[in-house]
């Protein structure tokens, strides 16, 4: 049979016809469509049982209660807890995006590591825990053998008062080094101001909710200051129109921030002149008799002119203010019109329970001690100290002390003579551990660095310190750097050895007194997920290192692990009269103002621990407002306008020498009695003005500006006139921009004495003329692709004066030059 071409086509036609009357084409069409909907690389979240774990957020010192939603043991969402007195259901952007800090492998260390590439490059190889701990312990042993234990130094970003902080200090003390440095934060400023004026280094406790006039000097009230969810929650209540109207809120700040815009009034004072503004207000209040005379007479020292022990007449605060801070003069310093100052002072003076708050942005960095004192002086003028709606005098949490460290001769010698730099000595008596001084000491001289081994805990000073890059330079001189960071941050990239800590949701940690909260509060977080990677609690690692070093160092740590050390401290709470639950019926600030004692809802430490573990918090919703005669621990036993402790320190240090020279070295130019009272010192160097602009870095609430990496979700909230396509934008007033021939979007070079950065211009009417504003937290050179190389780091431009008395950096005003590129 001959098969023709036609037959072949007929065969094919038969096949084609046949296949169409089978399910093949129809089923395939359907299935292929479905196939395109299920690409194997698009993740399908695993299903399972839903669970909730209640805990406390430890990402910032805000102390928010959180509820972690879990599916099949995976954490899928962080939400605010409504049964929690601080945040009452609210949460902040960082907290809400917290899971990206837990699971993102590209920003975390997955095990202990040692460096293999050059410093800063971030190349590491995994090592075992025993090798990592052993390496560090041997190094410490060697330092002690060489009789130079002080060459071990630590930079600790742990929050003050926590067991973590305590363990680091204890390790250094047992080894024999006084060189333990904390990262700057507003809490240091508060504590020192309280020590000088109130005589106790307790936390600042602002009873904001009970105030009827809130005057904030620079606090980013709704942008992350204090316990953010507490303040924003209160703010929301105040704007609830049908209910009782909240206090009038006035913000003092140089830029139209969210807080300034959303406040009832905005006072635009030049950055760094807040103290002058407060004193100008004091002038009006004193001269118009809008002060609480009974409080001033009974419970303060140095308000009126006084006679000292040596029978010399001394100038009082009143005289100083009336002489030196007239509204006209203050208007010249601050740029705020004199009539505005007078009106504000009258409003503050006539309010029933006015409260002046001091802060600098979110409070992640230091403030100015003198400014803080000047603001606190305003509260004192109105008797708003230790009253409901005022600044409450608190002593700190009743935590039990650990047993004293038994030091050996090597350690004692190191502790006595080994302090680096000038912190805490005659030049800076109130700078307990200023990191700036360590940097100075390391960079001094051509020889070997006085620091041999540097431990870094929960901090990223290479990036966050507003020091123009000095810390990074200092690191290059330090032979061994050990980082305990769980994250691949800039400082860890410089480290030789990594002993990674757990991250927030994996570890137990206390939140000791959220910043600014009026009542004693302790939050206790618990691990809500099993550690995702091979990390260890930094407390456990510190104890393990100490044990490995052996001898008296090991003996200083009579605990098996962190939790034992923590429990030993929390035992103190069992003695105090607090509560571990909150039924939500009545806000704590209401109970607090009533001042009625409460009976504890636990009967033993074990009971307390059980409740802390499940509830996550302890607090004391009451306060004794009547102990004004006993609550001040100052030399005079009163609230001191003239700070005896300061004068004493200067006198002691000057012993025989000239107090004037010494004061100058401390950064104080005021002379006579003014020097020991809250007064104003100029911030900018003499060369400011003319063609230069003043650079003011600012913190954002919706972007991580401290040592934590920024969760990528938060970048969704960044506006494209802040950061666009990896370029930072600087805010400039249109008028100033016109003077410098700048238009929206222009690319410019900002130069300071410390360095230069390239940014783009955003014209913003809310920027103070003559100033240039740059957001902090951008410009990372480490972490993963979601954080790296985005914008520029404003902290690297900061090159300013040092804050008087504390020696901390004045990061809020740097004179810069601007050039179009």
């Amino acid at each position: 049979m001959e098969i023709t071409r036609r037959n072949f086509i007929q065969l094919l036609a038969g096949g084609a016809a046949g296949i169409h009357i089978t399910p093949v084409p129809w089923k395939m069409m359907d299935d292929i469509a479905i196939w395109t909907q299920n690409w194997p690389w698009v993740p399908v979240p695993e299903r399972g049982r839903f669970d909730h774990e209640r805990s406390v957020c430890s990402l910032c010192p805000g102390g928010c209660g959180i509820e972690v939603r879990k599916v099949a043991d995976r954490a899928v969402k962080i939400e605010g807890r409504e049964d929690f007195p601080v945040n009452n259901g609210g949460i902040c952007p960082l907290g809400a995006g917290g899971l990206q800090l837990l699971y993102d492998e590209t920003i975390r260390f997955t095990s202990p590591m040692k460096r293999v590439g050059p410093r800063g490059e971030g190349r590491f190889l995994p090592v075992s825990w025993s090798e990592a701990v052993g390496t560090l312990a041997e190094r410490i042993q060697a330092l002690r053998k060489d009789n130079r234990p002080e060459a071990l130094a630590a930079v600790d970003g742990s929050r003050p008062g926590t067991a973590s902080e305590g363990l680091v200090k204890r390790l250094l003390q047992a080894v024999g080094s006084p060189n333990c440095y904390s990262m700057p934060s507003i809490q240091n400023t508060y504590q020192t101001a309280n020590l000088l004026m109130q005589g106790n280094a307790g936390p600042m406790a602002y009873d904001i909710e009970n105030a009827d006039f809130v005057l904030s000097f620079g606090c980013a009230l709704i942008e992350g200051w204090g316990a953010p969810a507490r303040v924003i929650g209160a703010w929301g209540r105040w704007r609830e129109d049908s209910k009782a109207k909240g206090p009038k809120v006035v913000q003092v700040e140089s830029r139209a921030s969210n807080t300034a815009s959303k406040s009832d009034a905005w006072i635009a004072a030049r950055p760094g002149t807040e103290a002058a503004l407060a004193l100008g207000m004091a002038h009006v209040m004193i001269s118009e008799n809008l002060v609480d005379r009974s409080f001033l007479f009974n419970y303060t020292h140095g308000y009126e002119d006084w006679i000292d022990e040596e029978e010399r007449p001394r100038k009082g605060f009143k005289t100083m203010v009336l002489e030196s801070y007239s509204p006209d003069k203050v208007a010249g310093i601050t740029g705020v019109a004199a009539d505005r100052i007078i009106a504000l002072a009258r409003e503050f003076g006539k309010a029933g329970a006015p409260l002046a708050l001091y802060g600098k942005g979110k409070g992640n960095l230091n403030g100015s001690l003198l400014e803080c004192m000047a603001v606190q002086a305003l509260n004192a003028l109105k008797g708003g100290v230790n009253t409901p709606g005022g600044a409450v005098v608190q002593q700190g949490l009743p935590l039990a002390p650990w047993p004293d460290v038994e030091t050996d001769p090597v350690a004692r010698q190191g502790l006595y003579g080994g302090r680096l730099g000038t912190a805490g000595d005659s030049r800076l008596p109130f700078a307990e551990s200023s990191i700036e001084n360590m940097v100075e000491a390391v960079m001094q001289g051509g020889g070997a660095s006085p620091v041999d081994t540097l431990l870094v805990f929960g901090a990223n000073p290479v990036f966050t310190l507003p020091d123009g890059g000095a810390f990074r330079k200092a690191l290059t001189r330090i032979p061994l750097i050990v980082s305990f960071s769980p994250y691949r941050d800039e400082t860890a990239a410089m480290a030789d050895l990594i002993l990674p800590d757990h991250t927030a949701l994996e570890k137990r940690e206390e939140i000791v007194w959220p910043t600014g909260l009026q009542y004693p509060f302790l939050g206790l977080s618990k691990p809500v997920v099993r550690p995702v990677y091979d990390t260890r609690h930094m407390g456990d690692t510190v104890i393990a290192v100490a044990k490995k070093v052996g001898g008296p160092v090991a003996d200083a740590f009579p605990w098996r692990r962190f939790e034992d050390a923590l429990k030993a401290r929390l035992k103190g709470l069992a003695e105090a009269r607090g509560l571990t639950s909150w039924d939500g019926s009545k806000p704590v600030w209401k109970t607090f103002a009533e001042g009625r004692p409460v009976s504890p809802d636990y009967d033993s430490f074990d009971d307390l621990w059980k409740k802390l573990d499940s509830g996550g918090f302890w607090y004391e919703p009451t306060h004794d407002f009547h102990d004004l005669s006993t609550c001040f621990g100052t030399p005079s036993g009163k609230f001191e306008f003239a700070c005896g402790r300061l004068e004493q320190a200067v006198k002691e240090a000057a012993r025989g020498g000239d107090a004037k020279t010494l004061l100058h070295r401390m950064g104080i130019e005021a002379r006579g009695d003014d020097a020991y009272m809250p007064h104003y010192e100029t911030v900018l160097s003499a060369d400011a003005g003319g063609d230069t602009l003043v650079l003011v870095p600012y913190e954002m609430f919706n972007h991580s500006t401290d040592w934590l990496p920024n969760p990528p979700f938060l970048t969704k909230t960044i506006f494209d006139n802040q950061l666009r396509r990896d370029e930072s934008f600087a805010e400039v007033n249109p008028e100033t921009a016109a003077g410098h021939h700048l238009k929206e979007g222009d690319r410019i070079l900002i130069q300071s004495d410390a360095g230069e950065v390239k940014v783009r211009v955003h014209l913003f009417e809310g920027a103070m003329p003559g100033h240039i504003y740059l957001p902090l937290g951008f410009g990372h050179t480490a972490y993963g692709v979601y954080q790296k190389d985005k914008g520029v780091n404003a902290a690297k431009l900061v090159a300013g004066k040092k804050d008087p008395l504390t020696g901390r950096t004045v990061w809020w005003a740097t004179s810069v030059r601007v050039k179009k590129t």
């Binding site: 599916v71 969402k77 809400a96 590209t106 929650g233 703010w235 139209a256 909230t717 008028e735 809310g766």
Partner: protein, 253 residues
């Protein structure tokens, strides 16, 4: 003008006087709804953010400048829903029993007509398959499906939370939900309590009351799309931002 009346009509009221512009709503939304993260989240033409913050200023010179914020979810337009009326494959639809405008990713053909039609720019296109930093696929919630490349997505009023609330109610033997049982993730997270969410049809609900507030307004109200997201602001300059007014047309309070 009238739209079909269903049993429930879920809506939102955002109090801009309370809103602090903190961005928690945006982040909580992203975390709740498995939002994809691209390398450059500052590229606003590519990034996805169901609840997007818009910053406005009153334009006055220093120091009288003020800023304010508009958090913008999907408006779930109740009448002649612009996106629904143009969608060729019916991938988006309004359910009059809830008032929620749905978006079905597996049905979407990626033509982006809805994106063009939406007056609020509430719709986002997936230029890439859902992407998550390495390791973070572990936080994905099974309640919301992960989107593939080539589809449009938008705020769903956290519809899965309605289902969650209903499931809970059924377990307790109830068919009806109480006010506040079903709220969106942004409502729950807002630390200022600026967002209220509930059934506008229920005269006793919080939102029904707030939506009649004298300071309440909606965005581009005069388009007649009956958005179910209301805003409250006591400031005239903020309310004025909500629509394109001719000079002298805006009525201050």
């Amino acid at each position: 003008m009238s739209a079909k009346q269903g049993k429930h009509k879920y809506g939102m009221v955002i109090n801009l006087d309370k809103c602090t512009g903190c961005g928690t709503c945006t982040v909580a939304c992203a975390a709740e709804n498995n939002l994809s993260v691209i390398k450059d989240e500052t590229d606003k033409q590519r990034t996805i953010s169901w609840m997007q913050l818009f910053k406005v200023t009153n334009g006055k010179p220093f120091p009288d400048t003020e800023v304010s914020y508009f958090p913008r979810p999907c408006m779930h337009c109740h009448y002649h829903t612009p996106c629904v009326s143009v969608c060729p494959p019916t991938a988006t639809e309004i359910d009059y029993n809830t008032g929620i405008v749905s978006q079905i990713y597996t049905r979407c053909i990626g033509c982006r007509y809805c994106q063009a039609a939406c007056p609020y720019q509430a719709r986002y296109f997936n230029w890439w398959d859902g992407h998550f930093p390495k390791g973070t696929e572990r936080y994905l919630s099974p309640e919301v499906s992960v989107r593939m490349r080539g589809v449009v997505e938008k705020c769903s009023f956290c519809h899965h939370r309605l289902m969650r609330a209903k499931t809970q109610a059924y377990a307790e033997g109830r068919r009806e939900l109480k006010d506040g049982e079903y709220i969106t993730a942004c409502t729950e997270a807002c630390p200022a309590g600026a967002i209220a969410f509930g059934d506008l049809n229920d005269p006793n609900s919080e939102v029904a009351g707030l939506s009649k507030h004298p300071h309440a307004f909606r965005l581009l109200e005069r388009l007649g799309t009956e958005p179910k997201v209301y805003y409250i602001s006591s400031k005239d300059w903020v309310r004025r931002m909500a629509d394109n007014y001719r000079p002298d047309e805006f009525q201050p309070l």
